[in-house]
């Protein structure tokens, strides 16, 4: 514990004060002289051919400086891979969802821009739309993309072990269908971009991005500008959660409008635009068949998924692959078969959202495990302990577990939840009449990748400049989108240099200055960027060490950097202030600069989107969540007064930041489980505002949230750290759904758990009991 001077301490976030005081500058707070305001015209149809666009009237409107349409971008399309580039900055030929971007205007103010939108005349030939992924797969369904027959955006089919034989060996088999709904990211800062084009070919853009280097490449390709001329500066970000990874129309349009007008252009979406037509989580239909032995040992999973991809592919291949990878964890599954279709529909595009594909599959698998335990009369905790993976385990598909504290997380979660006191099996409770408020407890486990290992550039780089007064600047392309990485990475620098958190400054990402970085997704920053920062800090330290050795007349290996001092082990009288060392080093000889540099990338091969074979990451986190629910048996309303998170995160670099992540996971998970969904009609979102959409408020979250960190010191991550930001949201849903069953004896297999659904399920319980007895002995 005391091994570290800075790490492992509960240090408040460095960006806390400015955000709390309201002085942090977000994209919309910025303006440039002569700046124009941009607005985007969106499709009023879910599916239509664009016959003609007439922008003349809009162009002639006083105050309008430019109007752009799809053709202005030529044939440029973007997407994760060459074969999945199916998105245009502005629609070309066709619109594929209601709210898709069709044209954009730059004008002297927002009002004029809005007026101009009304003057753009678009003639559409309305096509029949398909908004249900199962219908989209049927023959004769409306086709979204000419080059993607059958509306199939991604197809993955794979198998490991002998699944058929395993089912023959199984004592008990269950097959269930689960549905996870459309959920929005819920960031409170709408997507925004301020762009400045300088002739002949220089772009500067301030944009709200959690992974800015996607857009940096996008813009280089789209505008045929060398990367050296794309300067993407990252202001503070008001949340991302996966919805601010790539480039979006707002970014491309801001740049194009600036190019056309020669003036800076800012576009800030409204919350209505974000909620109705920006990206969202993949809705998924999961059909899962599981075979077990009498004692609950899992023998096989056979899983079929239909994911609603919306009108584009986005990062869909990673979502589909993730769902497969984490069918294999956190429980031992010796045989596994998987087939997934990611289907195009006339709906906004589904992308990654905190957990990217893993929530949906673990909701199904962990609730089904609970169903199996219930059917076989097994204890829910024991069935998880029995199936839990362990250090040294290798999944049937080839994922290697180098550190695993899953068992400990189960033990700790159960203890903190006072499980022994509160848990009584439903079979026992069933005999008693239901009171007005029924209570129940539920448990579920999770695992997550500690840094998604994707193809292409996948390493992180850090540059540390040590100033002569002993402070340091850390240049990293890893963006702090609110998760607190700025603080944690600065702590690593302070730890290695023996300084304090306040001595390290982390400027925000600026693609001209900071090293290229994959981005803040897939829970990679602490462990991957953390290692790069560690190496860079050690590099800086090694440049200071010879000078220190000379000044202190000591062997370099005896020198310690701690609390702004340079000490000699075993000689307490020989001390130097760190700032004196840096000053002397900088002035050494004819002078030098202390610049440490480090790069680190995972050594495992990239994720295999075709077969799912091998690792998804170099390290995996594990965890257990326990939920306590209260169900009003008259109204069907479910509340979660208490929730426990026990997470094997390897090492807690900053326990306070970890708690924040755990609480955020609970908030996101409770929202996904109980409160959030997009109500739609023919592809139109009826709830595109924060009043109607219903993100949970503080009153709707557990009054008591217990956050427990299990430290297993992983061999891969920085200082043994693994992720603790996304995995913790993976098991929130099944823990709550399992607790609901424990309270009232019904299984909710269709999210969200609305009160109306609960009430109906309660009434249908007898019928449902019959239906769920469908498993064959």
């Amino acid at each position: 514990m005391s091994e570290y001077a800075v790490l492992g301490k509960r240090l408040p976030r460095v960006d806390g004060p400015v955000k709390a005081a309201g002085t942090a500058r977000f994209t919309d707070d910025l303006s440039l002289p002569g700046m124009l305001y941009g607005k985007i015209l969106r499709s009023p149809h879910a599916h239509a051919r664009i016959v003609r666009i007439d922008t003349t009237r809009a162009e002639n409107h006083p105050g309008v400086r430019a109007v752009i349409v799809g053709e202005d971008f030529g044939d440029y399309r973007y997407g994760l891979r060459a074969d999945t580039r199916d998105e245009y900055p502005l629609a070309r030929g066709k619109v594929r969802y209601l709210g898709e971007e069709v044209a954009a205007v730059a004008a002297v103010d927002e009002e004029t821009a809005l007026e101009a939108l009304n003057l753009i005349q678009v003639e559409y030939e309305v096509l029949s739309a398909v908004t249900d992924p199962e219908e989209a797969l049927r023959e004769g369904a409306p086709q979204l993309h000419d080059d993607k027959p059958g509306n199939i955006s991604v197809h993955m089919k794979t198998s490991f072990g002998d699944v058929d034989d395993a089912f023959r060996q199984a004592d008990y088999i269950r097959e269930d269908r689960f549905y996870s709904q459309s959920v929005l990211h819920g960031f409170l800062e709408p997507n925004a971009a301020l762009a400045l084009w300088e002739a002949p070919n220089r772009i500067t853009i301030w944009a709200s991005k959690q992974s800015p280097y996607f857009l940096y490449r996008n813009l280089s390709n789209c505008f045929n500008v060398p990367l050296s001329n794309v300067r993407l500066i990252q202001p503070y970000i008001g949340g991302g959660f996966g919805g601010k990874n790539g480039g979006y129309p707002v970014d491309f349009c801001a740049v194009m409008l600036s190019k056309k007008t020669g003036r800076p252009v800012k576009i800030v979406l409204t919350m209505e635009e974000v909620l109705s037509s920006h990206r969202r989580r993949h809705p998924m239909i999961v059909r899962l068949k599981t075979g077990v032995k009498k004692d609950g040992t899992i023998l096989a999973h056979d899983c079929r998924i239909i994911a609603d991809g919306g009108a584009g592919t986005g990062v869909g291949p990673s979502t589909i692959a993730n769902a497969f990878y984490f069918l294999n964890l956190p429980y031992v599954v010796p045989n596994v078969r998987y087939e997934a279709f990611r289907v195009y529909t006339n709906r906004p595009i589904s992308v990654a959202q905190r957990g990217n594909g893993i929530q949906q599959i673990r909701y199904a698998a962990d609730v089904q495990l609970e169903m199996i335990a219930h059917d076989l009369g097994l204890d829910p905790v024991q069935i998880r302990q029995k199936n839990a993976v362990y250090t040294g385990y290798r999944t049937a598909s080839g994922m290697n577990i180098h550190s695993c504290g899953l068992q400990e997380t189960i033990t700790e979660a159960v203890k903190a939840a006072e499980w022994e006191t509160h848990y009584r099996p439903w079979q026992e409770k069933e005999k008693e009449p239901l009171g007005r408020i029924a209570t129940g407890v539920g448990i579920a486990c999770n695992s997550f990748q500690s840094g998604a290992r994707l193809t292409g550039h996948n390493c992180c780089t850090a540059v540390i400049k040590v100033h002569e007064d002993g402070t340091a600047s850390l240049l990293t392309g890893s963006t702090d989108s609110g998760q607190g990485s700025e603080t944690v990475l600065a702590m690593i620098v302070a730890e290695v240099l023996g300084t304090r958190l306040e001595d390290v400054f982390v400027p925000q990402t600026d693609s001209t200055v900071t090293p290229v970085d994959p981005g803040s997704f897939g829970s990679r920053v602490s462990s991957t960027a953390g290692n790069a920062v560690l190496i860079a800090a050690q590099d800086a330290r090694s440049q200071l060490l010879p000078v220190a050795a000379e000044l202190l007349k000591a062997a370099p290996e005896d020198i310690e950097f701690r609390d702004r001092k340079v000490l000699v082990r075993g000689a307490p009288d020989r001390v130097l202030r760190f700032r004196d060392l840096t000053r002397q080093t900088v002035a050494w000889g004819s002078g030098t600069s202390i610049i440490g540099q480090g790069s680190w990338g995972q050594t495992v091969p990239p994720m295999n989107f075709e077969t799912g074979e091998g690792d998804a990451s170099g390290a995996y986190s594990f965890g257990t969540q326990a939920a306590w629910v209260e169900v009003d048996t008259q109204t069907g309303k479910v509340t979660v007064p208490r929730m426990v998170v026990a997470h094997d995160l390897g090492f807690a670099l900053n326990p306070l930041a970890v708690e924040g992540q755990h609480e955020g996971s609970i908030a996101g998970g409770v929202g996904h489980t109980i409160y959030e969904h997009c109500v739609e009609e023919n592809g139109q979102n009826l709830t595109p505002n924060l009043t109607a959409y219903g993100l949970p408020t503080v009153y709707d979250l557990p009054e008591e949230m217990v956050s427990l960190s299990i430290e297993t010191i992983d061999p891969v991550g920085a200082f043994g750290a693994k992720e603790s930001g996304e995995g913790t949201q993976v098991s929130t849903i099944p823990a709550i759904v399992n607790a609901i069953h424990n309270a009232i004896g019904v299984w909710i297999t269709d999210l969200p758990v609305t009160p109306e659904k609960v009430l109906k399920a309660l009434r249908d319980r007898k019928a449902q009991d019959r239906a769920t007895e469908g498993g064959q002995p």
Binding site: L41, V698, P755
Partner: protein, 326 residues
Amino acid sequence: MRLKKFEHFEPRTLSEACQLLNEHGSKASVIAGGTDLVVRMKYGVTTPECLINLKKVDGLSAISSVGENLHLGALATLTQVRCSELVQERYPILAEAALAVGAAQLQNMGTIGGNICLEPRCWYFQQGNSWRQARPNCFKNGGAVCYMAKGSKRCYALYCGDTAAALLALGAKVRLVSLGGERTVPVEEFFVDDGMRHTNLRPGELLAEVILPGPGTGQRGTYLKYRKRGALDFPIVGVAAVINKGATAASRLRIAVTGVGSSPSLVVPPADFPAGTGLTHEMIDRMAEIARKQVKPVSHMEVSPGYRKELVGVLVRDALEKLAGA
């Protein structure tokens, strides 16, 4: 985004306000706290050419005893209402209802008059311009269709005010003023079950005051609000119940429901409903069933009509159980 241009008047007296209202007629909107109107203006579904701001009308936010009644100026904020000692002592149910509105910030801005006059709500109405362009306008936006009840001849937007239910159960009255004079009407006669025009306010008329009758002694009441989340949301169903001790059977129990139709409504106890004895469980169950049967929800906003109906029964039972146990 800035709002469309409008003229802004700040009358100092009620008669000046009525004068302006008379002059500008339907081109004018009256604004008090603005928590409902400004949102509609931002959406572009209400586009007044001028606003008559009541904020500076003298004495319009007073809460005072007049004889044995309590008078609440229309401009009293919901925070003022719920914090008023007179309200808390004599009509705690009204304080309860005011506290149930939105959130603290909205209660600080929103007024009792505005909350009573709250525009009926609907997913197809309160939406931005580009959203509305994707389908023909509904009644409320000048069209000829109600998306809540396809084929219907009327608008089924939901009235979602919280305080109106409490006022209805309390038997409150509202004083309406116009250039031609004034009239005082019971709250139940003020509302109309029509999403297009949910009050009886005549052109040129302003709601000036709420009058709570009697000293409030021997009275018990409660307002229960069922909403999706613990804050911010409008009621999916709100139920106010008031029991008057020693009164006649008809006025002994007053139950009002909000969030179910285009206006708040009273649930009338049957003529044979017993007076003079405490509420028994049987009576409560019977009343809950009467309430459940009496309401005819149509809107499927948030929940299905059937579930909304169920909730009315549950909330009436809960409210009466609470009063019986108090």
